[in-house]
Symmetry: C2
Subunit: 312 residues, 2 copies
Amino acid sequence: MKCCILGGGGFIGTNIAQRLVADGVHVRIFGRPSPYADAVSGAVHYQGEFADIPALQAAVDGCDLVYHLIGSTNPVTAENDKLFDLRDNVENSLHLLDMGARGAFGRLVFLSSGGTIYGIQQNMPIAEDAPQWPISSYGVTKLALERYLNLYGHLQGLDYRIARLSNPFGEFQVTRKGQGVIATILRCALTGDTFRIVGDGSVTRDYIYIGDAVDALVMLGHYRGGERVFNVASGRGHSIMDLVGLVESLSNRPITRQHLPSRAIDVPVNILDITRIQRELGWTPQTPMAEALNRAYRWMGEIIARPAFMPV
Amino acid sequence: MKCCILGGGGFIGTNIAQRLVADGVHVRIFGRPSPYADAVSGAVHYQGEFADIPALQAAVDGCDLVYHLIGSTNPVTAENDKLFDLRDNVENSLHLLDMGARGAFGRLVFLSSGGTIYGIQQNMPIAEDAPQWPISSYGVTKLALERYLNLYGHLQGLDYRIARLSNPFGEFQVTRKGQGVIATILRCALTGDTFRIVGDGSVTRDYIYIGDAVDALVMLGHYRGGERVFNVASGRGHSIMDLVGLVESLSNRPITRQHLPSRAIDVPVNILDITRIQRELGWTPQTPMAEALNRAYRWMGEIIARPAFMPV
């Protein structure tokens, strides 16, 4: 089996690649140079920009499975330049879908955003069929791309699955681009840096250990049932203050906090319903929060101890 | 009161403009040169392309109300060039939303597509909260724009309302761009041209007389309640074969038919639930189908009788 991971050099992609390589899959990683290339030496690296159509074509050509993890924005940068977000993520993805429609590759698994696509909801946990009115540009472009996938599926037979991932954390997550609240808390616990909390710390999210998320994403590559869209999440909510407390217990060190103003793009609560993926894939998250945090803490500790460590 | 109608030179815009001018509103029409400019001589015409930001700004500046009717594609052309559809309709609209967020104008009423945005549904009629998985690129870009409106409303206080219009027909509708099945049937009845039916004629749609649609769109400009999204429709379905029969009865002439292959982008049935707009606006469609068809038929007859008539 051949698999290509688009944007595979980052946190999530590196974890998927490690697993697939260990499973004997022929893995290609497409994207920008990866800081973790050594960790997946068994994969073939295709360097290229998403907008470089021939480079993209060469990477996906002949693959049984493509993971689309490329995203050039995060909820903050997308908001600051909505046009760039739309062009760089949606327009470029249409080229990829065209390749899929022409038979360049088999299945496409798209990483959507369970944390932003549903916007503000009254009822928790949130199932896949809940109304979707995102309150961030990041969520709007993810939503648009989901709909294009469905369109290509309907009109041209594209074989796709959508993973609405909640907030993954664990090995290979560093605190860059303003994302990764757990990685940031872990770093603060290890370095003594002040943890800057956006808002009062009550914002509640669904966090999932990356090892469990990878299990689900690998299973989605093989799933033969008829569902297309899946929440991939823990089904449990933790406030930021909860997380700070858990990391303090784990590290046995107090974390200095500073509160920043809250942001309008943050929904107050987001906990996802995982009934569908449990039923259809027989998957369920396996790693208890304390154990997952401990693994992430140990990994972060090793990284920080390296002389070359540079948080970006 | 000042009002600007973007894309106001076409079928729907001309009808809105006529009504507003008659109501004493100061009306600006922005867009390409209109074949119906004489019919709305009381309005001020601002000629310009949607992508021309300074021209757009000049047109909307200081208006209490803006109708966004501009669409450079239809379901067929959008499908043939999805990138153009996305750029020309969504990207350009983001500039308009930025202007609204900066306070250039008051309320924005956006014309969405009740016929394409819901995709394939099991239950009729379709209410506003039904899942939205369009099976046409045209529907996907309308959906994306709706979500951007909601985003600007949430983050920047943009005052917007969304009209998910079904299939309007009546005065000023000609058979261009492959849209307007009723106008096409009326023309065939008048000229003896063969009516080319896409598929077997069973495709069922919700048709609304333009005069009734204009009532709703004008009321949406003033509505003070909290709902943002409204189906604007008759709530009734007619198959294409139904329509052919109705026009044959009306004109007392047989219409020659030719069947073309059906299209994958056409949903089989689309009838909209109008409970929300009836409740919130006190609006309900007033014109019986036979009466509406008769008015459209008389208008089309006069147009065709003119020496300069050129169906485009």
